[in-house]
Symmetry: C2
Subunit: 404 residues, 2 copies
């Protein structure tokens, strides 16, 4: 829990540095909110139930659909752009593996109302700020960046119907997870011609913008946006963190533009985080579309990475004072002393039973107390207590009223 | 969300003042963990399902059973006493009313391993510290305190079997919620004699310890403990907050000793918080019993009370700086400036599109920015930006490197 609080505190502080406001959503949602027909993994692993009123409900697998609904609900009452973050628990129903639990937390940052790639650049910058704060460098972690508009361009050239786009992206996201022949088979069953499949797989292997320009020409939107993103990255000062990689498409059906993924350079772990632009999500829930982008950052893989790198911080319990009485008649005195210190904002562990001093010292060590305050009858009669500074062993008597 | 964070931050800081460590548990638990046979409301309102693997599961209605399980699991690896707090989401399946939602949060503090009422006194003290911090006084709120040992004493005198104790308590908790005749009927169906029922109801109307002593005699444990609690309250300095009231039994089956309840003195709202001693809970989960007590404090009724009293704090968004560029070519410059400020720990809202200054000023006002930093081409060529202090209107140019 100390580690979780430390991690979340870093998520929160970074989000605030970027001027984002915190939001949250219900944990239990109507199942319909998450049902899309693109064959996504997230849909297959939905943790869903029927409730006592025979409603189909689900523990949220992600936060973005709830966010979309909230944006629609707020309508014109909010001023754009919205910059919102959330740290929310999410669930998936699947076998548990390393860095993948049924229950996990996700840090999300979203920008609603900005069509420019300045938004994506800002989001990637915030994740990098987070990495730097916790001691992760660009030699540990990188970002692969692409745009779904690359695929869209190819599909357009082969006259593939637009409504197949999400499904094709979800299939392609399985590259390196399932055999290439299965990918091809799935693509063909999505009505792609043999030729289109080959061209698609060719494009996906491209790892530089120059090469991409050779293939698609300089005028396509995908290229303009990607170039702008890399140019902004230079200004922000995070060029060495990011690289173009056409094979990145992400596994969620709703992305429409830039997509990105944080990965560990040793290649041992699953994606650390991922995000992108989803300009057409709102209309799927019956709202008017707004340009939007965001990312999700889980709490599991990053902890694995910190462990790998020996970067998990030492987080010990920490209570400034431990207060005890020397006999049970003075327990009330100890309560009084504890109350005084707490009024002054000092943290106090009050010993609630009559225990030998040896026991008290052991407990003091465990909670890393700085001071031991002893209520003994001789001092108490003078309105005083005995203070022991635990680091130095220094001892003195002090009036209760003068305790700080 | 700002209000919730403010509330939770106060829960957290008070818990830390008292030397408690934060814990959390799964939201989705095995249903069996919450099934007890005492007819509690909490059991009737369980938000339960069958999962995809045909397991009976429930969204937790409370945190204490999970805590009990964790204590058993930890066994001898932890040193007693444990002082743990949690701020956890809980669910109930029932009709929604004022201050009662299906989904809510509960602040819990628990002390495991202390048999003395010093533990209960410490818990009540922490709640009062919380009230004071948020501006609630003893004329707004009080605590009714009793002990289940009072009832136990009466039941013993009428030879009522011990295994009926939990059930009787749950029935009595409905006093003032359902008609007295229904209470009597339910008690009789729990095998209590007419005489025992009358004596029980008599005792429940007692509102002073002197009167209780008259009825039960001075030697009963309930009385000794209650007297000690009131004496400790004096030392802590919270006597005016608490009063004895035998009708308080609380609605959870597992309490065994002192029970208490925070209430608003105007009597408009449901109980604000409640807790007590549960020395025999661990054995019901197959562990060895340990003395334990704790409380639950919901996030709904307290907000109602704060609204009633006009004590809900003004919590506005707050971002120190807003940074914008005067034309889209300089967007990268604005990103650079934002990155510099954030490196120095300053919060920055970066304007991500090319917007007129009028728009920027409106946004600055909405987020309560202190400074507006403008990246314009004349200054930028000199490596400078224009700064405007928004409270005073003061303006100056400054080198980007000198920005703090």
């Amino acid at each position: 829990m100390r580690l979780r609080n430390w991690l979340f505190q870093n998520f929160r502080e970074v989000s605030q540095l970027y001027g984002f406001e915190e939001i949250d959503f219900p944990v239990l949602e109507s199942e319909a909110l998450f049902i899309r027909k693109a064959g996504e993994e997230i849909r297959d692993q939905l943790y869903c139930f029927e409730d006592r009123g025979n409603r189909r409900v689900a523990l949220r697998p992600e936060l973005t659909p709830s966010l979309a609904r909230l944006v629609i609900q707020k309508g014109k009452s909010v001023s754009l752009p919205l910059k919102w973050f959330a740290i929310g628990q999410c669930w998936r129903y699947e076998r548990m593996t390393r860095g993948r639990r049924r229950e996990h937390y996700q840090w999300n940052m979203d920008i609603i109302g900005v069509p420019n790639v300045t938004a994506e650049a800002e989001l990637i910058s915030s994740i990098i700020t987070f990495f730097k704060r916790i001691g992760i460098t660009s030699s540990d972690v990188g970002f692969k960046v692409s745009s779904r508009k690359v695929l869209q361009e190819v599909l357009k050239r082969y006259s593939v119907p637009e409504n197949l786009f999400g499904r094709v992206c979800v299939i392609i996201d399985k590259l390196e997870k399932i055999p290439i022949d299965d990918i091809k088979k799935e693509l063909r069953s999505a009505e792609l011609s043999e030729e289109a499949v080959e061209e698609l797989l060719q494009i996906l292997s491209v790892k530089s913008l120059d090469k991409l320009e050779e293939k698609l020409g300089a005028s396509v939107e995908a290229l303009t946006e990607l170039k702008q993103l890399f140019s902004l990255a230079e200004k922000y000062g995070y060029s060495e963190w990011i690289q173009f990689d056409a094979s990145i498409v992400r596994g969620l059906a709703y992305y429409t533009g830039i997509v990105f993924e944080g990965f560990d350079r040793e290649g041992k772990l699953r994606a650390i985080c991922g995000g992108g632009r989803y300009d057409r999500l709102l209309s799927t829930f019956g709202g008017d579309d707004l340009p939007a982008c965001g990312f999700g950052f889980g709490d599991a893989v990053i902890i694995e990475l910190l462990k790998e790198r020996g970067l998990v911080p030492e987080l010990s319990p920490q209570v400034e004072n431990i207060v005890c009485s020397l006999d049970s008649d003075l327990q009330g005195g100890a309560s009084l002393v504890a109350a005084r210190l707490r009024e002054k904002g000092k943290t106090v562990d009050l010993v609630l039973e009559n225990k030998p001093l040896k026991w008290v010292f052991k407990r003091a060590a465990r909670i890393n107390a700085q001071r031991l305050i002893i209520v003994g009858s001789a001092e108490w009669q003078k309105g005083m207590v005995r203070v022991k500074i635990l680091s130095s062993g220094e001892q003195y008597e002090i009036k209760v009223d003068e305790l700080e």
